[in-house]
C-alpha cells in the first residue's frame, strides 16, 4: 500500500516536470522569435517601398532624401524597385542644390550638381518621369 502510494507520488512528480519542460520549451521558442525580431528591427533596411511611393505621390521629395540617407544599402541596393527610388532621391537632392547654387552665382558647383542630376536620372528607370515633376516643383530647367 505504502509502496503503491509512493509510486503514485513519484509518477505525479514526473508528470509535473514533463509539463514544466513543455511550457519552458514553448517559452524558449517565443524568446527565440523575440530575439530574431529585435535584431531584424535593428539591422533592417529601414523603409519599405510603400513609404517611398507615398512621399513621391505627395510630391514630398525632401522626405525621400531623408529616407534615402536612412538606408543601410543606399550605396548598393539589393532591391531593384528601391534602386529607382534612391535615384529619385539623389536627383532631387542634386536638383535642389543646382537651383540653389545657380541663383547664388556659384556656377562651378551648379555644374557639379547638374552632373549628379544626370547620373541619377540614368538610374531612375521606370520613375524617370519624376525628373520632370521635380524640375517643375523647383521651377528649374533640366540642365
Amino acid at each position: 500500500m505504502r509502496n503503491r502510494w509512493e509510486e503514485i507520488v513519484k509518477d505525479t512528480r514526473r508528470l509535473i516536470l514533463d509539463i514544466v519542460i513543455a511550457v519552458l520549451a514553448f517559452g524558449a521558442v517565443i524568446a527565440l522569435l523575440f530575439a530574431i525580431s529585435s535584431y531584424r528591427e535593428v539591422y533592417a533596411d529601414s523603409y519599405s517601398v510603400d513609404s517611398y511611393y507615398y512621399y513621391m505621390e505627395e510630391g514630398n521629395y525632401p522626405r525621400l532624401v531623408e529616407l534615402y540617407y536612412g538606408e543601410r544599402d543606399r550605396q548598393e541596393p539589393k532591391d531593384g524597385e528601391k534602386k529607382e527610388f534612391y535615384a529619385v532621391a539623389r536627383y532631387y537632392e542634386a536638383a535642389s542644390y543646382y537651383k540653389m547654387y545657380q541663383e547664388n552665382g556659384d556656377t562651378e558647383r551648379a555644374k557639379e550638381q547638374a552632373e549628379k542630376m544626370e547620373a541619377a536620372r540614368q538610374e531612375m528607370g521606370t520613375l524617370s518621369g519624376e525628373a520632370e515633376n521635380i524640375c517643375r516643383q523647383l521651377e528649374i530647367q533640366a540642365p
Binding site: K10, R13, R14, L17, D18, V20, I21, L24, A25, G27, A28, I30, A31, L32, F34, A35, I36, S37, S38, Y39, E41, V42, Y43, E58, G59, N60, Y61, P62, R63, V65, E66, Y69, G70, R72, R74, E93, S96, Y97, K99, M100, Y101, E103, N104, R109, Q137
Partner: protein, 249 residues
C-alpha cells in the same frame, strides 16, 4: 567430499551421488542456498535498476528544465539589448576600420557630401568623441544637424496638399537651425586638442554657406537676414523666417 553411503568422490554441484544415486544432503543445501542467493541477487538488481532509471530520468528532466530556462532568459536578454549589442558591434568595427572610415569621412567632407557623412556616422555609431574620429568632431556634429535643416527648409518651401501652417514650418526650421548653430561654436571644442581644423573649418564654412543659400533661395529670406540669423534667438529666427515665407507667397 565423500559419499556417506558408498564413499565415492562428490562435488558440491552433485545433488545426487553419481556412483550410488543417494541424495547428497550437503550439496542439496548448497544448491538451494545458491538458488536463493541468485534469486535475491536478481531481485535486488532489478530494484537497483528501477531506482536508478527513475533517478536518471528525473535528473534529465530537471537538467532539461534548467537549460531551457537559462536559454530563454539569455534570448530575452539578448533581444532586449539588441540595440546596445549592435552598437557595441558597430563601435568595435569602427575601431578596427578606423583608417578606412576616417578616409571616407574626410573625402565626403571635402566634396561637400554632408548628408552622407551624417548617414555614414549614424550607421556606424561614430559620434566623433573617440579616436581617431575626434579629429572631425565639429564637422561630424554639424553634419548631423545640417541634414535636418535641409529637409525642414525644403519641406517648408514645398508643403504639398496636406501641409501645415507657415508658422509651424518656421518654428521647425528655427529649431533645426538652433542645433546647427550650436555645433558651429568653436569654443565648445577648446578641450579637444586633436581636431584637424583645416578640414573642419572648411566643412563648417561650406555648410553654413549652403544653409544661407537654402534660406534665401527657398524661403525668401534676404541675404542680410540670413547672415544675421546666427546671432538671433530661436524665437526671433522663427518670426523672421515665417515673415519671409509669407512675403514670398
Amino acid at each position: 567430499m565423500k559419499c556417506k553411503f558408498c564413499g565415492g568422490n562428490l562435488s558440491l554441484e552433485d545433488e545426487y551421488c553419481p556412483h550410488c544415486g543417494v541424495v547428497n544432503e550437503q550439496a542439496r543445501k548448497h544448491i538451494q542456498d545458491m538458488r536463493r542467493y541468485a534469486g535475491d541477487y536478481e531481485h535486488t538488481k532489478k530494484e537497483v535498476y528501477k531506482t536508478a532509471r527513475r533517478h536518471t530520468r528525473t535528473t534529465v528532466q530537471v537538467v532539461t528544465a534548467v537549460l531551457l530556462l537559462a536559454v530563454s532568459l539569455l534570448l530575452v536578454a539578448a533581444g532586449s539589448n539588441a540595440y546596445s549589442i549592435s552598437r557595441s558591434v558597430e563601435e568595435g568595427r569602427a575601431r578596427r576600420n578606423a583608417g578606412e572610415y576616417t578616409a571616407y569621412i574626410e573625402q565626403c567632407l571635402r566634396e561637400g557630401d554632408f548628408m552622407e557623412v551624417q548617414a555614414f556616422c549614424q550607421e556606424h555609431h561614430i559620434w566623433g568623441y573617440d579616436e581617431p574620429y575626434d579629429r572631425y568632431l565639429p564637422a561630424i556634429r554639424a553634419c548631423q544637424d545640417y541634414g535636418w535643416v535641409y529637409v525642414s527648409v525644403l519641406e517648408a518651401a514645398y508643403p504639398g496638399e496636406y501641409g501645415q501652417e507657415a508658422e509651424e514650418y518656421a518654428e521647425r526650421v528655427a529649431e533645426c537651425l538652433e542645433y546647427f548653430y550650436e555645433d558651429l561654436a568653436t569654443e565648445r571644442y577648446e578641450f579637444y586638442e586633436t581636431i584637424d581644423w583645416d578640414v573642419n573649418a572648411g566643412a563648417l564654412e561650406e555648410m553654413e554657406e549652403n544653409i544661407r543659400f537654402l534660406l534665401t533661395t527657398y524661403l525668401g529670406v534676404s541675404r542680410e537676414d540670413a547672415d544675421s540669423l546666427k546671432d538671433l534667438s530661436s524665437a526671433r529666427r522663427a518670426v523672421l523666417i515665417e515673415e519671409a515665407m509669407l512675403d514670398a507667397q
